[in-house]
């Protein structure tokens, strides 16, 4: 096995182990919230489990997946060795060590503050230190992606960076911007409190800094899925990418629109004025632009593939697509779920409607549907596509991969649709147990059980996913080609605008937007300091 394969597999396996553990915890949490009696259920353990679930899914699965996939894309799309591979292993070691260090206080119930921290709650310093190491590891990855792209551009002057690498580097640039918020929060506000240097914490400032990170982090998780949409799905479907330029524009717009929008998580917070909330809401609406560009481009790309395979009529091309291929199937299901998740997101980001769903199960259901339904299902598809190239062995049974993806989509819909409904009924989030004997909420019980059934289906799917991956490490499987092909565009343009081949202009735009959107809202905490909250230790 070559070093790239070892590196990619190490990252992806680490992420998927964290994912499997998180799935198990997630089902138990849904069980605790249901009217059925769950084993080992205490409120204390519930919040401990929610913390472990959130950290595993949001920080470990995603960061290790993005890093591992990024290394793979850098080497295969640029067709040259990854620069500084030793640094990649150092970053992996740092990230893994950080994850394990953070896990200790979580297991000891000394960091039950959920993955979004919620100051003035303050857990063990080890928890935050561990997470800082994970972020530092990802920064090393960002530097490597930037260097890899810069070196390629130097040796290919005037040429366009391959789209897969352009998207990966856009993610790295975005992640460097994204992590500034949480890094400042943890290093200057939370860690000093956790080690006892400060006795109070400015909750408003902490929440504002976290909001800086909180929306863009979602796009950090999502961009690998979009890279797969643009560069892998059309290839797997046997077609062409409808527009390469549209892909570049999408990645650039994600970079621009993901950052100055985080205040839509703070619509109900008192520390910001309505004007800035309105401004950030408007910018949030614009995130719909790259989403619709993608839906259009990928649908068009799939139509090309379907028609090449003999599809006729207005919708006949859909039936002729090779749905038996996991990447095509996952793309179709991801788009299907994106309509529901995206629609829910439009409600969340609307200043007025947010008031109705804020702090209800609606929001929890929304982010599970977007994350599980669009992001993670594409992580599966990417894994199924690149695993044979990494291990050298084909899957012995591709129908199990399809089954797994179907189970995931069905489980996600069964889990999240009733969950959304419960949110509209007023079911509050971040609550461990409900009194289902209360006639006001008795009718909720059956829908929570339906959600739990969805969760069980997801757990079965997750277990099958791990089984499917392991099966591609075994000798009896068929030999696979190690060549990774990325989709070619239908009409390769003679040249593309230089602004879509780099990030200098877009970094300037992000800076301008961040100053406009976050400048005064952050400055106000220093111009007119609010009373700080006394640190509330939970370790």
């Amino acid at each position: 096995m070559r070093s790239l394969e070892r590196l990619t597999l190490a990252h992806l396996w680490t992420g998927f182990v964290a994912f499997a553990i998180a799935c198990l915890l997630g089902v138990w949490q849904m069980w605790v919230r249901s009217p059925l009696t769950a084993p080992l259920s205490t409120p204390d353990r519930y919040y401990q489990s929610v913390t472990a679930h959130g950290v595993s899914m949001a920080y470990l699965l995603t960061t290790f997946f993005v890093m591992g996939f990024g290394y793979y894309v850098a080497e295969t799309s640029l067709a040259r060795p990854l620069p500084g591979k030793r640094w990649a292993w150092i970053a992996y070691g740092l990230g893994l060590t950080g994850g394990l260090i953070a896990a200790i206080p979580i297991l000891l119930n000394q960091a039950t503050v959920l993955y979004t921290f919620y100051p003035p709650l303050t857990g063990s310093a080890l928890f935050y230190l561990g997470l800082v190491l994970v972020v530092v590891a990802s920064w090393i990855w960002c530097a490597q992606m930037l260097v890899a792209m810069a070196q390629w551009k130097r040796s290919h002057p005037g040429q366009a960076v391959p789209l897969a690498m352009f998207g990966t580097t856009a993610n790295a640039v975005m992640w460097l911007w994204t992590t500034v918020g949480v890094a400042v929060e943890v290093l200057f506000l939370i860690l000093p409190a956790a080690v006892g240097l400060t006795e109070t914490i400015d909750v408003g400032l902490s929440r504002t800094l976290f909001s800086w990170t909180l929306h863009a982090i979602v796009y950090f998780w999502l961009i690998p899925a979009y890279i797969a949409f643009y560069t892998m799905a059309p290839e797997e479907a046997g077609g062409r990418l409808y527009s390469d330029t549209m892909g570049r524009l999408t990645f650039v717009l994600f970079l621009v629109y993901s950052l100055p929008v985080g205040m839509h998580h703070l619509f109900m917070d008192p520390e910001h004025s309505t004007g800035f909330k309105f401004l950030q809401m408007t910018l949030t609406v614009l995130v719909a632009v790259p989403t619709f560009l993608t839906v259009f481009t990928i649908s068009a790309s799939m139509e090309i593939a379907g028609r090449l395979r003999g599809g006729k009529g207005l919708f006949g091309w859909i039936a002729t697509l090779p749905w038996e291929r996991p990447m095509v199937l996952a793309t179709g299901l991801a788009f299907f779920m994106l309509w529901f998740g995206g629609g829910g997101g439009l409600i969340n980001m609307s200043f007025g409607m947010n008031a109705m769903v804020h702090n209800t199960s609606w929001v929890t259901a929304h982010f599970h549907l977007i994350f599980g339904g669009t992001v993670v299902i594409m992580y599966f598809a990417i894994a199924y596509t690149i695993w044979p190239k990494l291990t050298g062995w084909q899957s012995p049974n591709i129908s199990l991969q399809r089954l797994q993806i179907w189970l995931w989509a069905i489980g996600m819909m069964v889990m999240t649709l009733p969950w959304h409904y419960l949110g509209l009924q007023g079911q509050w989030r971040r609550v461990a147990t409900f009194d289902y004997s209360n006639p006001l909420i008795t009718p909720w019980g059956k829908w929570v059980v339906v959600s739990l059934i969805g969760g069980v289906i997801l757990l079965i799917s997750a277990a099958l996913f791990i089984y499917n991956l392991v099966a591609m490490h075994r000798q009896p499987a068929r030999k696979a080609s190690s060549l990774q092909r990325y989709a070619q565009s239908l009409h390769t343009p003679a040249s593309i605008p230089a602004s879509l081949n780099g990030f200098r202009l877009w970094n300037v735009l992000v800076l301008v937007l961040m100053i406009l959107a976050y400048g005064y809202p952050i400055a106000q905490f220093f111009l007119n300091p609010a009373p700080a909250a006394v640190v509330h230790r939970v370790d």
Partner: protein, 266 residues
């Protein structure tokens, strides 16, 4: 595929900024002025409020309430108090304890009489809160109220520190399992149907309950049962947000007896 320099990026750049300008016009000018006028705000105030440089809601002042609010407790938790509790005058605390407290609470804070609580190892925050409440009169006791009224803030802090180990949220991590599963469940999980949170939700280590939450482990059964009964009957009412009154009033006498016994034996 080659690249060429053109104005494409700048068009997008300018377009985005134009949209931002529109959002600024709507968010900081048009909407606040129109909506502010409906709420009786002048134009300038409405704009200042949308920027966050003038205090916000309510647009109309709330009519003043005639009756003066009486707080459940006058204790204010701030860093000065908490720092004081961590670094109190040890000699003063020991001397005061010797002079005032030992008769009822014992030489070492181990009370000889089950109607008086043990103080040894009790949370300093809990002792501070209760002495302060006795002094302000929101908690009353024939012996404690007159004693507390003679104490200064510094003395209360010194006494609290003297008896405390300065731990907070102080249940033993490993509670012994209670023979009666109903009580075990009540302590660890509570009873959702009656709106009772588990005792450990506040009294457990790291549970995130109020700072003044006292240690219960090893306390006299009679003392605990008496306090729960007082809360239930409204005779004791210095619990902020009626937390303990709300819980105790829903417990049966049998449960009060058993829960008190459970903690006494820890």
């Amino acid at each position: 595929m080659a690249t060429h320099s053109d104005k494409f990026g700048y068009y997008i750049f300018t377009g985005v900024l134009a949209l931002v300008a529109l959002a600024i016009f709507l968010g900081f000018l048009l909407l606040p002025v129109i909506q502010g006028a409906q709420a009786g705000l002048d134009t300038w105030s409405a704009i200042c409020r949308s920027l966050g440089i003038q205090a916000g809601s309510p647009a109309q002042p709330t009519p003043p309430v005639q009756s003066a609010a009486k707080p459940v407790s006058e204790v204010v938790w701030n860093t000065a108090v908490m720092r004081g509790l961590n670094a109190a005058n040890k000699e003063l605390g020991a001397q005061l304890a010797q002079d005032i407290c030992t008769a009822c609470h014992g030489q070492t804070g181990i009370s000889p009489d089950p109607q008086y609580p043990h103080l040894s190892g009790q949370s300093a925050f809990a002792i501070y809160k209760q002495l302060h409440d006795y002094r302000s009169g929101v908690r009353q006791h024939d012996l404690m109220s007159p004693v507390a009224k003679t104490l200064t803030d510094e003395q209360i802090i010194a006494l609290a520190n003297h008896y405390a180990t300065l731990t907070r949220g102080t249940l033993d991590r490993q509670l012994e399992v209670e023979a009666d599963p109903r009580i075990d469940h009540l302590v660890r999980t509570g009873d959702t149907a009656r709106g009772i949170p588990g005792c450990q939700s506040c009294h457990g280590i790291g549970a995130g309950g109020p700072v003044e939450t006292p240690t219960l482990s090893g306390q006299y059964r009679q003392y605990l049962a008496a306090q729960l009964s007082n809360y239930a009957a409204g005779r004791r009412r210095n619990d902020v947000f009626s937390r303990m009154r709300g819980i105790a009033s829903k417990l049966s006498e049998e449960e009060i007896r058993l829960v008190s016994g459970f903690y006494a034996e820890q």
